[in-house]
């Protein structure tokens, strides 16, 4: 039989099947994807970094919720960021740098201590909700070495999400709240991050996310095997 005649029939059949499934399947309350989550507030005094962190972690039965300190990300990370499955930081930023209260942390060397970087212990996903931290090829040709260098933080972590541009402070609470709700619902991680920015951002900020390429399709519900601690294979997705 002519395949072109079959195509509309198949499409109609599929539509009917989906409608039938919709009618017989009541919407469930969202299934809880909840592992270990940590929230880290970068500043007590420079704007409200508290609410966006809270709006993310309140979606979960979170495990850590602290004023950010540099040791949580470097020398003591096995008990903080690298003990969590999903960490969320909000504060000031600069390429590969985040500000914890008054002290800047250089992510290019944050993996130099005995605790190494992130992922050698437990971490899968880290979001750095701060201006300019995740530089893309549009900002610098070598956007990758800082993450995977000997002292970098990519030691098994799957994805790091952030911004390649400034991040609007008037939108951050809504972005993090929506992002948290999608992550809890089992959405793909960096893709939900970009959805949240597109949906709640003011149109000026642009997201970026770096990852070990086989982890590209990870969700918080289903994620791939941990990357090796030592690798130099990286992918970045970035908004224009």
């Amino acid at each position: 039989m002519d395949q072109t005649l079959l195509a509309p029939a198949r499409s109609k059949l599929l539509s009917c099947l989906l409608l039938f499934l919709t009618l017989i399947t009541p919407a469930r309350e969202v299934s809880a994807v909840d592992h270990w989550e940590g929230g880290y507030v970068g500043s007590k005094t420079e704007g409200d970094a508290t609410t966006p962190v809270w709006n993310f972690i309140k979606n979960f039965t979170w495990n850590q919720y602290y004023w950010a300190e540099t040791f949580q990300f470097d020398s003591y990370n096995n008990e903080r960021v690298d003990k969590m499955d999903f960490s969320y930081f909000v504060g000031h930023g600069s390429p590969w740098n985040i500000k914890c209260q008054t002290t800047w942390l250089d992510l290019r060397t944050a993996g130099a201590s005995a605790h190494k970087g992130w992922g050698n212990n437990n971490a899968e996903f880290v979001t750095l909700h701060a201006c300019n931290v995740v530089a893309s090829p549009l900002e610098v040709a070598d956007w990758y070495s800082a993450w995977t260098g000997n002292d970098g933080v990519f030691d098994g972590v799957h994805q790091v999400c952030g911004f390649r541009t400034s991040a609007s402070m008037s939108c951050d609470q809504d972005i993090s709240e929506y992002f948290g709700s999608r992550i809890k619902a089992g959405a793909a991680v960096w893709q939900a991050w970009f959805d949240a920015i597109s949906l709640y951002g003011d149109g000026s900020e642009r997201g970026a996310a770096v990852m070990y390429p086989p982890c590209d399709g990870d969700s918080y519900a289903v994620f791939s095997a941990d990357p090796p601690e030592e690798h130099s294979w990286l992918r970045i997705w970035y908004q224009l």
Partner: protein, 349 residues
């Protein structure tokens, strides 16, 4: 300290009102007479006030799961995506349709107002290659409008919709210390809303169209309620003095620790809270420079905020949500931050 803050307030207001060159707020230029910056500013504000309206979304029938599914099916029939979205969940008044075969695919619709986000999935775009036949930046806006017409989501009042940005989504790969590819994946077209000459900002009133290979509709954000205007009695608006005071307080709260603050822009807009209320507000953007990391003398971390013009705003502004959040704990590992509740959660749950 108090004197400096007062001057910041006035300089901030002057920039917003007279739209002059940016005002850099350093100690040496905080000495200008108060009336020198305030007088021209407030005459402009009065002109803007004359055309100030507020808007309310026209209520819509609350969607049930079946009508949400029908809406999604309608978009699918007029597009080319094949994702079945067989899984449905309810969350915070939204229906979330998703598909286990691609967790990046989602149709997330607010049952109360029909605002939705559609992402038809990025799995098929994850290869190390550029998408074929992506539209150019010049072609994209017209193509996006065609998709809006085809799906029935182009706003009825065409005067309200304005092109805001043409961007996109790229992916790059590095391996063994060198870049091995940089690929174009999607083209993004963003539309803003203009009502009575004022740009609408905030969570509501936006349309975003994502265009994929061969110009197909890859995704859409549609949050565009029908609205009706209401005039505002003069008494409903804050006085110049109140706006000045509030702007200064907010600037101090957002950027008070900065080494220098430059007002980049501040303008009257309409703020759409995404819940049905659209109100006039001042949107202030300031460049706040802080002491930088070791390699930099200083870094610019812009701050932005809204100052409602209404004495009793109905809209929910971002700063109003702060009261709902819980404060974090000091991390007991360091003595510098005395933990109020010295609890270590590292044992997990």
């Amino acid at each position: 300290m108090n004197k400096a803050i007062t001057m910041i307030m006035l300089a901030g207001i002057s920039s917003f009102l007279i739209a002059a060159d940016p005002v850099v707020l350093r100690s040496e230029n905080l000495q200008m007479p108060l009336n020198a910056v305030s007088t021209p500013a407030f005459s402009n504000l009065r002109i803007e006030r004359m055309k100030t309206l507020t808007y309310e979304a026209v209520p819509k029938k609350v969607l049930d799961q079946q009508s949400a599914r029908t809406l999604l099916s309608g978009i699918a029939e007029r597009s080319t995506f094949k994702i079945p979205f067989e899984k449905v969940e309810k969350l915070n008044g939204r229906f979330i349709f998703s598909s286990p075969e691609d967790p990046s695919a989602v149709f997330d619709i607010d049952a109360s107002n029909g605002a939705f986000l559609l992402n038809t999935g990025l799995k098929r775009y994850s290869g190390d290659e550029s998408s074929r036949n992506l539209p150019s930046d010049k072609e994209a806006p017209e193509l996006a409008r065609k998709h809006l017409i085809n799906t029935g989501f182009l706003p009825k009042n065409r005067q309200e919709i304005v092109l805001a940005h043409v961007g996109g989504l790229n992916m790059a790969v590095s391996k063994e210390g060198r870049s091995v590819g940089n690929y174009r994946k999607l083209v993004t077209v963003r539309f803003n809303r203009v009502l009575n000459g004022l740009t609408v900002q905030g969570p509501g009133s936006k349309i975003v169209v994502q265009l994929g290979q061969d110009g197909e509709l890859q995704g859409m954000i549609h949050n565009w309620p029908e609205v009706r205007a209401k005039s505002l009695p003069a008494a409903a608006l804050k006085s110049d003095e109140e706006i000045r005071r509030e702007t200064g307080l907010r600037l101090r709260s957002e950027a008070g620790e900065a080494q220098a603050v430059t007002i980049r822009s501040s303008r009257m807009v309409l703020y759409d809270d995404g819940r049905g209320d659209i109100e006039p507000a001042i949107h202030v953007i300031a460049d706040a420079r802080y002491k930088g990391p070791a390699t930099k003398e200083s870094v610019n971390n812009p701050v932005d905020f809204y100052v409602p013009l209404l004495k009793a705003p109905k809209a929910i502004y971002p700063f109003m949500k702060s009261a709902e959040s819980k404060l974090p704990e000091g991390d007991g590992r360091l003595p510098s931050y005395q933990p109020s509740q010295a609890q270590d959660w590292s044992d997990g749950k």
